[in-house]
């Protein structure tokens, strides 16, 4: 029963619960059992809230029994990246400095999910403060890719991605700043979406890089991702950067799944040297597939994309160096070195030295450097100009094509430890995803096959203009359906048994 329930999609589960075919409690229990069975190997979760989840499930069942209308995700379990503030669960952001911190408030996104009847199962592992592409920067140990437990699940939303890929949850929330939803989704063989910046509220999302952070959905199917996207999104008066416009019709688009007549632009610069052959091969096939489905394929050049990575690695650290200054041992979190003789300044420094991991320290120092007087213009200032040029490249490209496509990330899942000591190599994982973070436009990653050389998942990235999120779902669903037809089964059924 467990295996049946945990292999269902969110849409299927919601329907089964609504029709009383199965209870929300059974569904939640099945997923809790699955977590108990496999999370020792996967380590997707930092915290499992079994009691609260079952209580929430009971509440859904009660509403159903009373004849109340249920939302599209009522009773569906969801894993929550540990970057979202949850009032009834710890929120660590994968960091020692927040170990055990219990926020006195709830993020808007999780509040909306709970109000919709979704069942938070617990908090998932992540690279510390969302900085990384593998979860190896988590203070609590890495998560493991369900396709090969010796490999990374990507990051920073690696725990969420692994949880969904391991059937521990049908849905998960993540955040994408440089690719942290799309890249882990790609290397785990699932769907991950970065909505238009401002499309879902950042209130209660612990900030890494404020002008880039975007909460978004992870799921095993495009429709499921759309359902979660809709439930998570919408204007929030508590977030000044949230967009005051209706959520694009992503669910309808996911059901439309048709690319006939669409102009699809292949970005020249997001390919070539540094990309694994398997990734390029599967990507090439996806392009052909889209053409066969009736899309018009064109080449577009976005020349400034070559500068997107360095610009990102100036803007994001700059903002994070400021955002993370609040972790100073004075009001919450770790306090170290307070032996009664030391000054506040010393205790702050010792705490931050002990509480932050190496990548976080690297970025804080890099950011402090880029913002310091004398260097601002040449680094941060310049990076913001590059950002304008990237936006212009997108504008020009979207003048020729309805969506743009590329591989989601240059490589398949690398081995745990392989890039841990080489920050620059780690940063390259974000090569394809960063431009959309800088420009704020919508971008989806859908599985497009397994790399022939190692049998590991490859993701196809589909980018659309700001507020045209639905276009990504339309194309993604078309690819998903066509590949499903071609393979005869969902990709994930090829993953090893855990």
């Amino acid at each position: 029963m467990t295996a049946e329930l945990t292999s269902k999609t969110a849409a299927e589960l919601a329907a089964a619960i609504a029709s009383a075919e199965v209870s929300a409690v059974e569904v939640t229990q099945a997923h809790l059992d699955r977590i108990a069975a496999v999370d020792g190997q996967v380590h997707a979760f930092l915290h499992v809230a079994a009691g609260q989840a079952l209580a929430a499930a009971q509440a859904v069942d009660a509403r159903r029994a009373a004849g109340d209308a249920l939302g599209p995700l009522a009773g569906v379990p969801v894993a929550v990246k540990d970057v979202f503030a949850t009032a009834d669960m710890p929120t660590t952001c994968g960091s020692h400095i927040l170990d055990g911190w219990q926020p006195p408030y709830e993020s808007t996104v999780t509040r909306r999910l709970r109000a919709a009847g979704a069942i938070p199962l617990g908090k998932t592992n992540m690279d510390e403060f969302a900085m990384g592409s593998s979860t190896e920067n988590s203070a609590f140990g890495p998560s493991h890719n369900p396709w090969d437990l010796t490999r990374v699940p990507g990051g920073s939303s690696g725990g969420s991605s692994a949880a969904v890929a391991a059937f521990e949850a049908p849905l998960a929330t993540g955040t994408d700043t440089g690719g942290s939803i799309r890249q882990p989704a790609a290397v785990c063989g699932i769907v991950g979406m970065k909505p238009t910046y401002g499309g879902s509220s950042r209130y209660g999302v612990v900030a890494f890089a404020s002008s880039l952070d975007t909460p978004g959905p992870l799921a095993r199917t495009v429709l499921d991702a759309a359902l979660l996207h809709e439930a998570m999104s919408g204007h929030d008066p508590c977030d000044s950067t949230s967009i005051d416009a209706p959520v694009p019709p992503v669910v309808a688009a996911a059901r439309q799944a048709d690319v006939e007549g669409m102009r699809i632009g292949v970005v020249t610069e997001l390919s070539g040297e540094g990309y694994e052959p398997g990734v390029l091969a599967r990507f090439g096939e996806a392009v052909e597939l889209l053409e066969s489905l009736g899309a018009k394929i064109i080449e577009v050049s976005c020349p400034h994309f070559a500068y997107a990575l360095p610009a990102y690695y100036l803007i994001a650290p700059s903002e994070c160096s400021s955002n993370l200054a609040r972790f100073d041992a004075m009001r919450y979190g770790l306090r170290a070195g307070d032996d009664g003789t030391r000054s506040a300044e010393e205790v702050m420094s010792i705490t931050r030295g002990e509480g932050f991991g190496a990548e976080v320290k690297r970025r804080i120092i890099l950011g402090t450097y880029a913002l310091s007087s004398g260097y601002y213009d040449a680094y941060y200032g310049k990076a913001q100009q590059v950002r304008t040029l990237v936006i212009r490249d997108f504008d020009a490209a979207f003048g020729q094509a309805d969506v743009l496509i590329s591989p989601s990330t240059p490589s398949t899942a690398f081995k745990i430890g392989e890039r841990a000591d080489d920050p620059m190599a780690m940063y390259l994982a974000d090569l394809c995803t960063i431009p959309s973070d800088l420009a704020g436009n919508a971008a989806l990653s859908v599985p497009c096959g397994l790399a022939p050389e190692n049998g590991l998942p490859v993701g196809l990235q589909i980018m659309a203009p700001v507020l045209a999120d639905d276009r990504t779902y339309r194309v993604g669903a078309a690819v998903e359906a066509a590949l499903h037809d071609r393979w005869g089964h969902p990709l994930l059924t090829e993953a090893p048994e855990l």
Partner: protein, 502 residues
């Protein structure tokens, strides 16, 4: 360390001062700058905080619309240009009273720029002088929490063992007003600084944007002072003096710094660019943090907030709705009341201007209103050691008294008694008149009765009057006044005496 000083006058013979003022105004909004916590004063510690003003991880700021409106109004009243587009910026530094370890402020894009405020300086024994203080910028930022330093002897940081932080004040909207350097005031520099702060305070009060109480910290001043030898083409090194908590302190701080800096320059030493702390009790400044190693605040545009672009028509609506500003009001009243510059200055300096204006508005003649407030009532206030505004009498009540005098019901002496009665809490002027029976007696029957008594008591005086020595009537008048406790209508008594005896 006691600083050597040069006398102010001697310093002003050789040096030319340049002053500048940075003023922080706590806006009187109901809620904080970036969240809905109450912005009121005096609550229990940490009871007016939320995730946003505590800077909790994941919290985000949202701008208070009224704070923007108030800041624009302040800028307009100061004749500033209002930015058509500007942003907030982060000012990054670590300090325990700052929950985020950055302050949301404005940096190179302030909301208001390039204005001015005209002030009048009243030097003792010299004609008043107008000084135009130019305004560099007006911008918005958030206030910090409050720290108590514990364990040390003085309650200040030095020698403290630890500190206790209350974040109720964190996030309250602060408007920062920065002047351009004020030159050419010479020996009037201390008075000019004081006059500027006083005029600014009155202007802010008239806008209704803050209760501007220096003692409570809703108006804070930092004074910058520098001096250079007369004729020097460049300015001297300036120091910044903080903890200037009253108008008098503004004046004293500038004066002291001039004397201190002159002494240093005279002895060949250079002025250290630093922040100094003003001491209320002794009137001196002492060195604080050295500003030579300037803080690198690493300003960058606040990514959690979006730009401000106040629509031009909204700004014009605000401009049109500005109240009459204090300087314009003073000019108008001076003209309406036909006062000389000197008289107007005296009135303004006494702090009674508003009281007089309200009394006039309640119907009193301006001269009468001035007479009572600057005379009898000021004496009472001085005796009690309180401000005129604190006297338990209202302008309407004073106007009533002048009305009673004008109608002949009271004379000056009686009016003084009525005022005293009101101040003593005996009720309204009419209540006091009735209770104490203070009305002028004009009833002929009563007066004649008293006159007859006086005649009977001094028959020889009466005879003199009959004989034509009218001056003797004064004796009888005095007797009648005494008998009526001064309440007789003196003119009528005289009439009746002559009627009776001639």
């Amino acid at each position: 360390m006691t600083e050597t000083l040069v006398s102010f006058d001697a310093a002003m013979e050789r040096y030319e001062p340049v002053i500048g003022l940075e003023t922080h105004v706590e806006l009187g909004t109901a809620s904080k700058m970036f969240c809905g916590c109450p912005a009121s004063f005096g609550a229990e510690p940490n009871t007016q905080v939320c995730p946003v003003c505590l800077g909790l991880p994941g919290s985000l700021p949202v701008v208070n619309a009224l704070a923007i409106e108030s800041t624009i109004r302040i800028g307009l009243a100061l004749n500033c240009t209002i930015a058509s587009w500007c942003r907030f910026a982060r000012k990054n530094y670590f300090y325990p009273d700052m929950p985020k370890n950055f302050q949301i402020s404005q940096y190179d894009e302030p909301l208001c720029t390039n204005g001015w405020l005209d002030v009048t300086v009243h030097p003792e024994g010299a004609p008043p002088r107008k000084v135009r203080v130019e305004i560099e910028r007006v911008h918005l930022e958030e206030d910090t929490g409050k720290t108590l330093h514990m364990g040390g002897a003085t309650g200040r940081i030095h020698g403290a063992d630890y500190s206790l932080v209350d974040y109720n004040r964190a996030g309250i909207p602060l408007v920062e007003i920065v002047t351009k350097p004020v030159t050419g005031t010479g020996p009037l520099a201390p008075l000019a600084a004081r006059a500027y702060v006083a005029e600014l305070r009155d202007m802010l009060r008239s806008l209704g944007v803050s209760d501007v109480r220096m003692e409570e910290g809703s108006l804070r001043c930092d004074v910058n002072t520098s001096i250079a030898p007369k004729g020097s083409p460049t300015w001297g090194t300036r120091t910044e003096t903080k903890n200037v908590n009253s108008l008098r302190s503004v004046e004293r701080a500038v004066r002291f710094e001039i004397e201190r800096q002159a002494a240093r320059l005279d002895s060949g030493e250079r002025i250290v660019q630093e922040t100094r702390h003003f001491h209320e009790d002794s009137g001196i400044t002492t060195a604080g943090r050295s500003k030579e190693e300037a803080q690198d605040y690493r300003y960058f545009p606040e990514p959690d907030l979006v730009p401000l672009a106040p629509p031009a028509d909204w700004v014009e609506t605000l401009r049109a709705a500005l109240p009459e500003l204090p300087s314009a009001r003073r000019a108008r009243l001076q003209s309406e009341w036909s006062l000389s510059d000197l008289d107007m200055a005296a009135l303004t300096n006494s702090g009674a201007l508003d009281l007089v204006a309200e009394t006039v508005a309640a119907g009193a003649p301006p001269a009468e209103a001035r007479k009572w407030w600057l005379g009898e009532l000021r004496q009472h206030a001085n005796t009690e050691g309180i401000e005129l505004t604190a006297l338990p009498i209202s302008p309407a009540q004073v106007a009533r008294v002048t009305e009673l005098v004008a109608s002949g019901s009271l004379n000056d002496k009686l009016a003084r008694q009525v005022l005293a009665g009101v101040l003593a809490g005996e009720g309204s002027p009419d209540d006091v008149v009735a209770a104490r029976n203070l009305a002028i007696v004009s009833d002929d029957t009563a007066l004649l009765a008293a006159i007859d008594d006086a005649i009977a008591a001094s028959p020889e005086v009466a005879q003199k009057i009959r004989d034509g020595k009218t001056a003797a009537a004064g004796v009888l008048l005095g007797a009648v006044m005494k008998a009526t406790r001064g309440q007789a209508d003196a003119a009528r008594v005289r009439e009746l005496i002559f009627q009776r005896l001639q």
